[in-house]
Symmetry: C2
Subunit: 265 residues, 2 copies
């Protein structure tokens, strides 16, 4: 999604050329290119599919909406399996219209995980709960901290449910480093994503993620924290940025890889 302007073949080609060994995919471009075609494309290039984004949106109260959300998440699990990735990222969903109860909404996420985690495990897929920054608590994700995500994940085996650590969402939280250590100790860091925090935010707050090094997040410190927590998996970069999408995608990927490389050392 960092280089949304690239087609999947362009993305695969540029990754191979730059020595980027894996790529996290989103469902929409995969569906547009075709699930089987996408799987074949990345298998053929030798690129790992590090994760699939995203399932989730599990906070509905209405039974029909809940059933539809569960069905959609099972489809996402199937898609992850077809793409050969073991990790499906879940964004919990926001408050249903008219509701003011974050605690109850989080409980509905937990209930939905009970239904989804065994199914995911049967397909060889781990669920990765992503806490989003509290700016999104009402409309996108009622899970705002790593501690909350981890508390939900810990109801299940680590092989079934873990968390996503995305620097953009957790950088501000003084409790996050301890949560990273706790998640690492139990093998629950299922994905690690980098983005920087820059201001001012654009309207709607969604498409203002900063290119690595452009903002105020100490990304080297976060990479160190993840290393200290025993995380040795892929490091994804996920920038939602309308300005970056407006430019050349290959140049953006090159620039991003150049900025990421020293952090990974």
């Amino acid at each position: 999604m960092t280089v949304k302007q690239l087609s999947l073949p362009e993305l695969a080609d540029a990754c191979v050329r730059l020595g980027v060994r894996g790529v996290g995919l989103w469902r929409e471009p995969v569906a547009a290119y075709g699930l089987e075609a996408s799987a074949k494309l990345f298998r053929g290039t030798g690129l790992d599919v590090t994760s699939l984004c995203r399932g989730g949106f599990l906070t509905a109260i209405d039974p029909a909406e809940r059933a539809a959300a569960l069905a959609d998440n099972r489809a996402a699990i199937d898609e992850a399996a077809a793409l050969g990735t073991d990790t499906l990222v879940l964004v919990s969903g926001g408050l249903p219209p008219g509701s003011k109860d974050l605690v109850a909404a989080r409980e509905r996420v937990g209930d939905a995980l009970s239904a989804l985690a065994p199914y995911a495990a049967s397909r060889g897929v781990r669920l990765a709960i992503e806490p989003l920054h509290p700016v999104f608590a009402s409309d996108r994700c009622v899970v705002s901290t790593l501690d909350q995500a981890l508390s939900l994940a810990e109801r299940f085996p680590a092989s079934q449910v873990g968390v996503v650590v995305d620097t953009y969402h957790v950088w501000w939280d003084e409790a996050a480093p301890a949560a990273v250590a706790r998640a690492g100790a139990s093998g629950r860091i299922h994905a690690f994503q980098l983005a920087d925090w820059v201001t001012p935010l654009p309207a709607g707050a969604l498409l203002g993620r900063g290119q690595l090094g452009e903002g105020c997040v100490d990304l080297a410190e976060w990479c160190g924290l993840l290393g200290s927590a025993g995380y040795a998996g892929p490091v994804e970069v996920e920038l939602f940025n309308a300005g970056l999408w407006a430019g050349d995608g290959v140049a953006l990927l090159e620039d991003t890889a150049r900025r990421a490389t020293p952090l990974l050392a």
Copy 2:
């Protein structure tokens, strides 16, 4: 600031007519109208000045900038005393340019409080640390939670330093209710402000606070929490909303008072 479009005499007049018994002021309109004239205006109408906003912005590293910030805060303390309010609201300030260290920035806030709290006490003014929503952590306020604000306040006597509970900033935080109870038990809730959370946020995130009842914050629940914590002080409404400022100020004040009244029961 909820009715920024009103002059101070218009504000005072409308408050008296509506039975609003107190008003929180901001330094800029007070300075524009004149400090002594403002003090006289509100004394003459019998309205309490519930608080003055704002001091703070205490995170600079540069010695000259720090000295200037301390001087400005002493001036704000003097202004609070002149207006007859016992409460100066402090917004901590964001990260200095180039810094990525939230912890060190919070420590500089603590250091500055050590210099300011005794001076404020000598003028009969309490300092009230306001945690702002984490969306403002980088550019406006490195104190993002009530727990962080309270940890800073607890270095000083409760009569000198306490916290502001603003629903807009803390509604998302599952740890906030316990922090309210802790703050109440030690007499450190120095101000209580209401605003609702509505989305989408406007660009810059600052001017999108929701009118009471328009958003997803359970304001009645928060008023109950403050009551249970023993808070019996004034309840302020602080809406920064460019849309609301564009309309008639007296009608806005009337509507706001109408919405607030049942919450205060």
